[in-house]
Symmetry: C2
């Protein structure tokens, strides 16, 4: 079966309190993208954060002593660093221009996922405003999924993604930060190969594999499209949580 990623164009700018499920359905209607059971909607973190009012004015932030010290080492705005610390469980690496943390949601990312771009505050000066990640992306995904079920009757999966850098390889890749109604991991342990020889453990990060290609379709900036419709996901939908995809500190050889 062919796997398809269809961008949802003509999304309006998103403001706090907006109903994303409604907006996604309207966008699908105008793009003539139908919805079927088993489809997956992939939503960019930015519009979820905006709808949830996660925009913060740096003018309201007072950096702690720890933030001032880390701001020096990282050559970043101390107020931004204060927010990074508040959003993180642990700082893993610091270099000029770079702070890698374990986000309070458990995954590793740069700057706790806090973003300047495509952010415009009430004073119209984008330099002074930043956007935090959604408070609980699994719950955000679940809420969108439930509303879609109520409105259309369709059983779909919903995933919220962001662009993450990686160890070992150059470039960012789209990565799941919240999932609902679709597997994070798919366990291929014990499947037999062509010769009946048992495969060793293979756990496939199906949600991240989907997030990556969805991100490719979204782009990043001016032409950016914040939502993608996916059809043909080759695994059964089920209840899940992003926790499936987080490697525990104890089982991570590279922290």
């Amino acid at each position: 079966m062919t796997l398809t990623f269809t961008p949802l164009p003509q999304m309006p700018l998103i403001y706090p309190g907006d109903n994303l499920a409604e907006i996604l359905l309207a966008s699908m209607q105008s793009a003539r993208v139908g919805l079927e059971d088993g489809d997956i909607l992939v939503v960019a973190q930015k519009i979820v954060s905006k709808a949830e009012g996660q925009l913060v004015s740096l003018a309201t932030v007072t950096p702690s002593k720890e933030a001032l010290e880390l701001a020096k080492r990282s050559e970043k705005d101390p107020r931004l660093v204060e927010l990074i610390l508040r959003e993180s469980n642990e700082v893993l690496r610091v270099r000029p221009g770079t702070i890698i943390v374990e986000h309070r949601l458990g995954f590793i990312c740069a700057s706790a996922g806090i973003d300047h771009s495509n952010v415009k505050g009430n004073d119209g000066n984008p330099e002074d405003w930043v956007l935090l990640l959604p408070k609980n992306p699994d719950s955000s995904a679940l809420e969108i999924r439930r509303k879609i079920k109520v409105t259309t009757g369709n059983r779909v999966g919903v995933m919220i993604i962001d662009s993450h850098g990686r160890a070992w390889r150059m470039g960012t890749v789209g990565t799941a930060i919240g999932i609902s109604g679709m597997p994070g991991l798919v366990d291929e342990r014990g499947w037999q190969d062509l010769f009946g020889y048992r495969l060793k453990i293979t756990m496939v990060a199906a949600a991240d594999e989907l997030a990556a290609a969805a991100s490719l379709v979204m782009g990043e900036a001016a032409e950016g499209i914040p939502a993608v419709h996916v059809r043909g996901f080759p695994f059964a939908l089920r209840e899940s949580s992003l926790k499936e995809l987080i490697r525990s500190k104890e089982n991570d050889l590279f922290r």
Copy 2:
């Protein structure tokens, strides 16, 4: 534009010397998948390695002293460990059941990408045979691309992928190990966002994002499909090398 991943079914078992370009084109024809300029063919490492005769009988391998020592620490077959060492620039981490290396091709992966599964040697005992990665996957991709150009006249991209584990997150993801005629990285530096505010550097690992979803379509085992046709890749094709995607040791905070 919709991005589509279409599995190429009914591929025959691959043997040393097979002409993969011919086999891919025949499979596309039988699946009624047409080829256009700008399409990308994603090929699983396994069939490239098989066509290149990278199958090795463990009975022919004599482990070195270093391999014997590492086999103890990793609880792996010393002959397999010997091959892992021969295929690697550097061993990064060792635990029972796990050897993480920098492959001679520059990327980080487990067991130098050497695989037992779907491998059958001349004696019919899959336990005694392993499959090394292709000698030079960029060249393998280029060769397939050139032959397709000669036969069909089409300008396509070709990518060879494998499944890699990751730092920080659970599960494997499809990852590029050789590319030809398509970008590895797409540089989004300096694009303007919706408010004319300049984005900071964003380098997107476009090839890996594509590899991930292609891998999702391939599956891993009995039902596995070793090649996928991609249409709608949203960036211009160009000459490239996997080197684009390799983070240098000096610039890697997690080695």
